[in-house]
């Protein structure tokens, strides 16, 4: 065990050294070309008054989020007291942003989602979703179906699936406050338990309840959009959580990469 710990520690150190050696640590420096989309509330915002009409992708992949209807645009705050005075993008329960499908947003056997946000505590609210429910669905990441202090992460077996094979954390694992959340999908693993994992502030949520179906070995290459703050508008489940930063990696992050990325977000969020 000691040997493993030392090896793991050395690995993390090597990765950190490599990343720091390139300059500022960012998702781009950590994941390189595997960074599919990267949204920062302190960069790339386009406003319609006080609401967000576009939120640009900082990964250089052009997966820009947009919302052309004012009534569905989330609110922007340059300094949000509820998220440690960081900038934020927040929906009011009827808002969402969407980005058209692209190759970087359609990974195959691995994917990792990171988010720095303040949970609304309301159940069944979407955080990030790819595809349209029952038509071109791929995956979802949301608050618990019946408990707002839980998280649910699901992966569809087919684009037509009207439910996703999902796993959910226990109540209380998605607590109030500014947190770093990470969902990892690894289709090369052999069981539901190892294919989907969720981390909060860097710590793995050990006990995940299994929802339905079987987590598939690969992701659906969905043509549907990426939605931030809702499922597709026909389903809703609009979020009222406060986002400061979120990014999607088109492969399974290693433990060392996850550690560095989590520390990056913790620093960004002042936690």
């Amino acid at each position: 065990m000691t040997l493993v710990t030392r090896r793991s520690s050395r690995l993390v150190s090597r990765v950190q050294t490599r990343i720091v050696g390139r300059g500022e640590v960012t998702p781009k420096s950590i994941f390189g070309a595997s960074l599919a989309a990267w949204y920062r509330a302190d960069l790339g915002i386009t406003l319609n008054g006080s609401t967000v009409s576009a939120w640009a992708d900082q990964s250089e992949n052009g997966n820009h989020l947009a919302q052309g209807t004012a009534g569905n645009q989330p609110t922007y705050s340059a300094s949000d007291a509820l998220i440690n005075s960081r900038s934020s993008v927040t929906g009011d329960g009827g808002d969402y942003l969407a980005a058209s499908d692209s190759a970087p947003l359609s990974p195959s056997t691995g994917m990792t989602i990171f988010a720095l946000l303040r949970n609304s505590g309301v159940a069944n609210q979407a955080l990030l979703v790819k595809g349209v429910f029952g038509t071109s669905h791929s995956w979802f990441f949301q608050t618990g179906v019946v408990d707002g202090t839980a998280l649910a992460f699901g992966v569809a077996s087919t684009a037509l699936e009207t439910y996703a094979n999902y796993r959910t954390t226990a109540a209380g694992t998605f607590p109030s406050g500014v947190r770093v959340f990470c969902a990892v999908y690894d289709g090369t693993q052999s069981t539901n338990a190892t294919r989907c994992k969720i981390y909060v502030d860097g710590a793995e949520v050990a006990t995940l309840a299994f929802g339905a179906g079987t987590i598939p070995t690969s992701l659906v290459d969905s043509t549907g959009s990426l939605y931030l703050g809702s499922w597709d508008p026909g389903v809703g489940r609009y979020s009222t959580s406060r986002y400061h930063e979120a990014f999607i990696v088109s492969r399974t992050a290693t433990a060392a990469e996850r550690d560095v990325a989590t520390n990056y977000l913790r620093r960004k969020g002042g936690i």
């Binding site: 386009t46 319609n48 576009a54 209807t69 009534g71 569905n72 645009q73 038509t135 649910a152």
Partner: protein, 126 residues
Amino acid sequence: MTDFTSTKLADVEAYCAIVSKAEGYPKAGVRVGGGIHAPPELGVTHRHVEPIKHPDRAEWRAPVDAKAVAAQTSKALTVAEKNSLSLAVASAKSIDASWEPKAIVDVEADSPPKELTEEPLDLKPE
């Protein structure tokens, strides 16, 4: 402050049209912060409000943020313009509107959460 709500689609359409016109939509977005920004065309707000149909009832609404703009707009309206608004609404009421909702958005905060296992909503316009 509550949404502008009516059982007559034409009323809400007339309301939305005037609010949108007064605000000069489509409206270009304003870039804030550094970094990469979305192309200008993605940041455009095309209309301030769209009539939104209640998912179950024969009821349409204009979202609350439109109401705020309407209140501002109201201050600038002359009596004649207000009369025009009334006439427009009255005229719209007399029309057998064949308008069909472009999108039905579930914005009901009190709607019960939908279980993950349920069937997808029927999005066909009524």
